[in-house]
Amino acid sequence: MQPLIETLMTRFPRAVLSVEADTARAEVSVRIAADRLIEVARFLHDAPEALFDHLSDICSVDYPEDRQRFEVVYLLHSLPYRRRLRLKARVPEDNPAIASVTGIWKGAEFLEREVYDMMGITFSGHPDLRRILMPEDYAEGFPLRKDFPAEGRGWRSQFDFIPRLDEAPVEQTDSEIPERDKQAFRAEAAPSSSRRREELLLNMGPQHPSTHGVLRVVLELDGERIVKATPDLGYLHRGVEKLSEGLAYMQIIPHTDRLDYVCAMANNYAYVRAVEKLLGITIPERAEYIRTIVAEMQRIVGHLFWLGTQALDIGAMTVFFWTFREREVLLDMFEKLCGARLTLNYYRIGGVDSDFTPDLVLRLKTFLDTFPEKVKEYDSLIASNRIWLGRTKNVAVISAEDAISFGCTGPVLRGSGVAYDIRKEEPYGVYDKVDWEVPVGKNGDTYDRYWIRMEEMRQSARIIRQCLDQLPAGPIIADAPQYIPPPKQHVMRDMESLIHHFIIFTQGLKPPKAETYCATEAPKGELGFFIVSDGSARPYRLKIRSPSFVHMGAFDHMARGYLISDIITIFGTYDIVMGECDR
């Protein structure tokens, strides 16, 4: 990395303002001047010694006391060299504008829209700079600025606790939407040609039986072919990032459960790892094993859910019930482990909350014995079925270059042939101590992604079995009294533990003043948390890099040219959960 930094500094002497190399956390961040962003970004994207072709995230931080108030952070990742870089640029408050990098990384489109929506920074050269998570006509300001209250502003944030039933109903609205509102959804600008094609604007959602969550997609159709598909996000936006700025680090864990609620503990794991990276604590071995086992169980749970809903959408409803049968077994095990089934709040900073009993280990082993036949059963219904093949082969194809440019990760990226799995590249947990393989597809179509997820389930079963065999004894939570509350029995007995317990629960743990980005391989893709800490008990900025949001950016590209029936297949193959997409 050092030679690259030196090249950067020699080539762009006036652009690079400072370089911080955080050796403890193995991160490098470069501060550059905002007006030189495009040249530096293009160099980093194209230069053969850099090749940062994968844009993980674009985020923004608000420092109201500084003259250059907003900081735009670009989290870059290089797939050929497997390394990360952070680019930071500051823009002042009176002119919060910076050049858009959508010409370099296509995935920047949605990410920059979110930065505009949340922080008010405009990106010049962006093809379609509108609000994305907030409603289109939101005029109360920009939510993630520090002067915006967490309770919200305006009429949308004031509602009666007990709804009034004596109000008059709303008057009839027009059934036809005015033409200017339709502009955003049309593929080309106002029809100037003399021959006007009759296009149909079809609105799917937000209430629809098969958009996975509340998602609205406006389709411009030519007959049955899709000319443009515009997703409209934000129906499930709950402001988790803003809320987190007012919560202590430990209190944020239950909120992360609600992001990707299908496999909740994967989000817990991603967040907890980010905080531990910030704090620099090491986890005891038993806790690492348990975390890996539970994360892989969640991967199976998430993929079973995906398989059921994808099959249900395509019509094979039996597979849905059979996968949920398996899911029930796993959820019962989770219930035995931590008391909840869906929103588990199991991981803690420094370890996990409760231990694996031998009875639970036995139950898990029994489950693993029967699991391969069940997977074979699902396959018998669909894998070689000609109707399924007809519905999934060569549907929603995305090439490797496009997938990388859009920032896709997880099974979407692997389906196109790029062998990138964070568990192998930046190993965490005990993934480097067990043997397993990463399935990689070829064509980038729906069938390949289906096959990859089925194979990942089998590999997860393999990982869990090896971890169960290797499970060592030991503590399940680290021993770092200033960050981690001591066990309850000690709290009742000795004064020091009592003091630590009180301080951690009332004031919260205080990490050092630093920032870090930590990526984890969630079942949907790369789930990353970018935490900026100012030394206080509450994070200064918490940005959640959610895979579903980034994949929605590639939705339009993937959907063009296919039929309406394929839209549902495309939703399913991207494995989008709106909780994570909208946060």
Partner: protein
Amino acid sequence: MTKLKAWFKTIIFYEILVGMKATLSHLLHYKPITLQYPHEKRALPDNYRGMLALLRYDDGTEKCVGCDLCEAACPSRVIRVVSAEVPGEPTKRYSKEYYMDMTRCLFCGMCVDACPVDALGMTREFEWAVYDKRQLHLNKEQLLAIGDRSFPVREKRLELQHPNVAFFNVSFGHVPQKPN
């Protein structure tokens, strides 16, 4: 030969028949996994995170000392505690008022983790659907009543046994009594 076989499989819809055999075998070896709720209910484990409850000692006094740790630990600001001195015992405190807004509760269990005296517990009750949201704003009496229902076995109150030590409910049998 394999091509002939593949062609044959295509015209007799072989893989569709394999799938149909799988569904038929489910029909013939019928093993439903449905639980006929509400006629049958599942057995919930002991650490199930159901409705919250306030606990008592075996002599009937409340465990809660009004320290507000649960209020501070809650991620959703569900709990509101008004603590006061126990009338007549100036070194002891209790919670005069204790409100939990269960419409906002996440059932995450962090309040239970935070409580230093184990005054909070999570029961196995989950059937709390109400017609009026105000019925889900529980006060101390209601929470204690839930606790009485679900936790019949109460912890022994040890601290009163040693008058010199007003600490948490830990046996101080090894500490000699101070002369009066």
